[in-house]
């Protein structure tokens, strides 16, 4: 039996550096092997500890399940700890990822396009040639976040008002728009399990 195929992890943009080098008198005495931090592990660390997202939100950003994200994150910490303790270099490369940063949107013809030549910046729309191009904002278009299609509702126990449940935002922290009491989860049976 072959193992389950890994889901492609979405990485916003490649890191600006290629790795880290230790310095001090003890460096260079040991065999110079390096710790290879994968792009997905870098991204997990960035989302969790730099952007301060929780594992749930971060997993949706990367297009993997929450347990998978936690595993990637744990592996990232383990590798960094190993490099620190043993005084090894860290090189950031590899991993099963695709980059999401190089998508742009044209305001004039409403098309989206990517930029395969990463070193050149985009100034014109490749379709209509207008200069009104913007970087595609992932935050405002969570269309393809896999965990989003949960058709559950938050319900107000006080007045019975329902509103669509927002993924990653606990119902118990939502406030009812009518009577301003705290909401509860309705627990729809048809709520789809997260697929990964």
């Amino acid at each position: 039996m072959c193992p389950r195929i890994k889901v492609l992890r979405k990485v916003l943009s490649p890191p600006i550096i290629k790795g880290f080098m230790p310095y001090g008198p003890e460096t260079g005495k040991q065999k110079q092997d390096l710790v290879n931090l994968l792009y997905e592990e870098y991204e997990a660390l960035r989302l969790n500890d730099y952007d301060l997202l929780n594992h749930h939100q971060a997993s949706a950003m990367m297009g993997v399940s929450r347990p998978t994200f936690t595993r990637i994150y744990a592996s990232a910490l383990q590798k960094i700890a190993k490099a620190f303790v043993e005084g090894k270099q860290i090189s950031i490369e590899g991993g099963k990822v695709y980059f999401d940063s190089d998508w742009y949107q044209c305001k004039k013809c409403a098309c989206y396009f990517n930029n395969p030549e990463k070193d050149k910046s985009v100034e014109f729309c490749p379709l209509c040639g207008s200069q009104q191009v913007n970087k595609f904002d992932y935050e405002n278009s969570h269309e393809d976040a896999p965990n989003k299609n949960c058709d559950d509702f938050c319900i107000c126990p006080n007045c019975g008002v329902e509103q669509e449940h927002q993924h990653g935002q606990p119902c118990s922290k939502q406030i009812c728009p009518q009577c301003e009491s705290l909401m509860k989860r309705k627990r729809n049976i048809n709520c789809k399990k997260n697929k990964n």
């Binding site: 013809c109 098309c111 379709l127």
Partner: protein, 105 residues
């Protein structure tokens, strides 16, 4: 420079196909000499692997850009490595003629 457009038919009036791998026709348009070529897609009814097979077909024509409605997961990484630009146009009623006019800006 060559641009591939996914099309639902083999005339200029046909609209853009919203799928890439299983579109009916590919239109390969050369912006330099304004030549165009309609290629029927052999992978139209393929059950599996229509996307990568279509990428191969397109890449063999030395295309630089592809205009389509949607690109599948398998294709994005392939096109990235081939340095082919993807242009996603989510307007199903646009005809091939309109798109070629836009390309000639």
């Amino acid at each position: 420079m060559k641009v591939a457009i996914t099309s639902t038919g083999n005339t200029l009036e046909s609209t853009i196909d919203q799928r890439f791998g299983r579109c009916a026709y590919f239109v390969v348009y050369d912006t330099a000499n304004k030549a165009m070529e309609f290629i029927p897609n052999p992978n139209k009814d393929a059950e599996e692997g229509a996307g990568p097979a279509s990428v191969q077909l397109i890449a063999s024509r030395n295309v630089n850009k592809i205009v389509s409605g949607e690109f599948g997961m398998k294709i994005k990484s392939l096109l990235d490595s081939l340095k082919i630009q993807m242009i996603v146009l989510k307007e199903p009623e646009k005809s091939i003629k309109d798109i070629i006019e836009m390309l000639n800006h």
